[in-house]
């Protein structure tokens, strides 16, 4: 008999609907699990136990009356600490927001609360979502449940580690350059970055506004579809969210890939790609072939310029977005200062960590007088070329399959002193954000040391349904994970 924490969201929904377990029992099982494993993985920055139990009690009332019950009613979720939660501290992994208690909810929080979902707490991340390992959290690093000496990936490291360690049933993360997909890959879970504009960014603390998207992290593809159903949709409070109907994504979970064409981009199989990752990805592609898909080679010729493009655009937007942390309206204000300018400089220098300062500096430099054309404009032009590459490729195929990251999870401290090496670990995830298309990481095996490897699937704008169909078929072909870590 599996315990409650072993069940998927749709399995929990089934036993909740049959009243075989209550939402309070499920929530308490997860809170116990957090008590047991979180001292090892440190995925949570804040655990909201009392609030969670109160929300579970409310969910039980709804379930009892069969009133407005959805697949997420009574399901315990973790939320990346970049998403504003009314009355619950939201730090963004930064000291500058250490005491920030949002007076409002992000739209995604309103949506999942309307479903009667339960929030277990707020999850660790790289400060302001800047990083690939969660080591840039101003509080503490998070450990990979599969090997505690390794990083969980980032920036949504807490969101991925908590799902893999069964310290929540599913979670929300955010992805600006790979921050959902890369940690999902390193932690052996499913992570989806939706098309830009699919999910409202209202209440998501801004990093790079033309790239940021919120998305789900889950233990399997069905749970991913359920979470995506709940958070998608137009929002008048985010003018970049797109006015279109939200399909029921569980409708795309269909066996068989007849009439599908899968594209393999040759530029993603380069030197520097770990041979074990390459082997697992190729094995996954043949598994998809066995499900009926045709496989063709495609070309994304500007892939090698994506990291350079991103490290102009993202820091430029960040330097502008982060100018709001000035010690006036909310957040830290340095205690001793001589005048206004001194207050700004001391507040920001004490409140931000080194990586955030580095990116503000790059962004400010590239936007400063005389450099705009050479950097930001140039990068925006190359961004057009990268987007065109995808458009052309999708004339030949439905979905593109590639690695998520060149390697498996690296060791804590391994890349901490070399920012450029850290940036290059996002080489395969960044193009998706630049083009605004959706991407998903699906587990496709373990390496010889038992570390998870993810397959990345990419599709055209608003083709999440195709991504989920292919991801679901991979899960059918390879089987769902049976030996979760920290069991």
């Amino acid at each position: 008999m599996p315990s409650l924490i072993d069940l998927s969201i749709y399995e929990l929904h089934d036993i909740l609907s049959k009243r075989e377990a209550s939402a309070v029992e499920i929530t308490k099982a997860y809170l116990d699990r957090i008590g047991e494993v979180d001292p090892k993985i440190r995925a949570y920055l804040t655990v909201t136990a009392d609030k969670a139990v109160a929300q579970a009690e409310e969910a039980d009332r709804r379930l009892k009356k069969a009133d407005n019950v959805t697949p997420l009613t009574g399901i315990p979720l973790g939320i990346k600490d970049v998403i504003c939660t009314r009355g619950v501290r939201t730090t963004c992994g930064s000291k500058i927001l250490e005491n920030f208690i949002p007076p409002y909810n992000a739209t995604v929080m309103e949506k999942i609360e309307a479903h009667g979902a339960v929030m277990l707490g707020k999850l660790n991340m790289d400060e302001f979502a800047m990083g690939s390992s969660t080591e840039n959290s101003a509080y503490h690093p998070t450990h990979n449940p599969w090997d505690l000496e390794r990083i969980p990936g980032g920036s949504s490291g807490g969101s991925a580690a908590s799902v893999a360690a069964k310290a929540c049933a599913g979670s929300l993360g955010s992805d600006t350059g790979g921050s959902i997909r890369q940690p999902a890959s390193y932690c052996g879970v499913v992570g989806l970055k939706p098309t830009y504009g699919t999910v409202s960014r209202f209440g998501l603390v801004a990093f790079a506004s033309s790239l940021d998207q919120i998305g789900p992290i889950s233990r399997d593809v069905t749970d991913c579809a359920l979470l995506l159903n709940a958070i998608s949709g137009h929002d008048t409070r985010d003018s970049t969210s797109v006015l279109r109907d939200v399909p029921d994504y569980t409708g795309s979970l269909i066996p068989g890939l007849k009439n599908y064409i899968l594209g393999i981009p040759k530029e993603y199989f380069i030197s520097g790609l770990d041979p074990e990752v390459e082997k697992a990805v190729k094995h996954a592609v043949s598994a998809l072939e066995s499900q009926g898909t045709e496989v063709v080679e495609v070309s994304l010729p500007h892939t090698e310029y994506a990291v350079a493009t991103y490290y102009i655009i993202a820091p430029a937007e960040a330097s502008s977005n982060l100018s709001r942390y000035d010690g006036v309206k909310y957040g830290l204000r340095a205690p001793d200062y001589k005048n206004l300018m001194d207050m700004y400089k001391k507040t920001r220098s004490q409140g931000f960590g080194p990586e955030v300062k580095r990116r503000i500096m790059i962004g400010t430099y590239s936007l400063s007088a005389g450099y705009y054309d050479a950097y930001y404009k140039k990068a925006s032009q190359v961004r057009t070329l990268i987007t065109r590459d995808f458009k052309k490729a999708f004339e030949q195929c439905d979905v593109i399959a590639a690695p998520v990251a060149p390697t498996t999870a690296f060791r804590l401290g391994e890349k901490a002193d070399d920012p450029l090496q850290m940036y290059l670990s996002d080489i395969f995830t960044i193009p998706v954000n630049l083009a605004g298309i959706p991407g998903i990481s699906v587990p496709c095996g373990l390496n010889s040391s038992g570390l998870p490897i993810g397959l990345q699937l990419m599709a055209g704008h608003f083709d999440e349904a195709k991504l989920l169909t292919v991801a679901y078929n991979l899960e059918l072909a390879l089987g769902r994970c049976k030996n979760w870590p920290l069991a």
């Binding site: 830009y196 990291v307 350079a308 909310y330 957040g331 300018m341 400089k345 503000i360 190359v382 605004g436």
Partner: protein, 94 residues
């Protein structure tokens, strides 16, 4: 192009950040590494390429200019480091 220490100090001022001399040195090295890598984009001829300003081809999102409920002043001020009589307190500016 190489960024110099005095340029770093100028950019730090624009960004309202301050660094001590040892930090400036390591930043200088790291920023030059990163900018060196970024200069890779110069390989591409983009003279005839339109820059991307938005990931999707959207037209402007207009909405009606209507008064809607907003958060009360007390809630807005609740996170302010210093507040007084319904306002934010800042150091003397003029």
């Amino acid at each position: 192009m190489k960024i110099t220490t005095s340029e770093i100090e100028h950019v730090a001022h624009l960004a309202r950040l301050s660094f001590d001399p040892s930090e400036i040195e390591s930043f200088n090295r790291q920023l030059n590494d990163i900018l060196g890598y970024i200069s890779k984009l110069e390989e591409l001829d983009t003279s005839r390429v339109e820059p991307t300003t938005h990931a999707l081809e959207l037209t402007n999102a207009f909405r009606k200019d209507e008064v809607k409920p907003s958060l009360p002043v007390g809630k807005i001020l609740s996170n302010a480091p210093e507040r007084e009589e319904g306002g934010f307190v800042v150091p003397k500016i003029i």
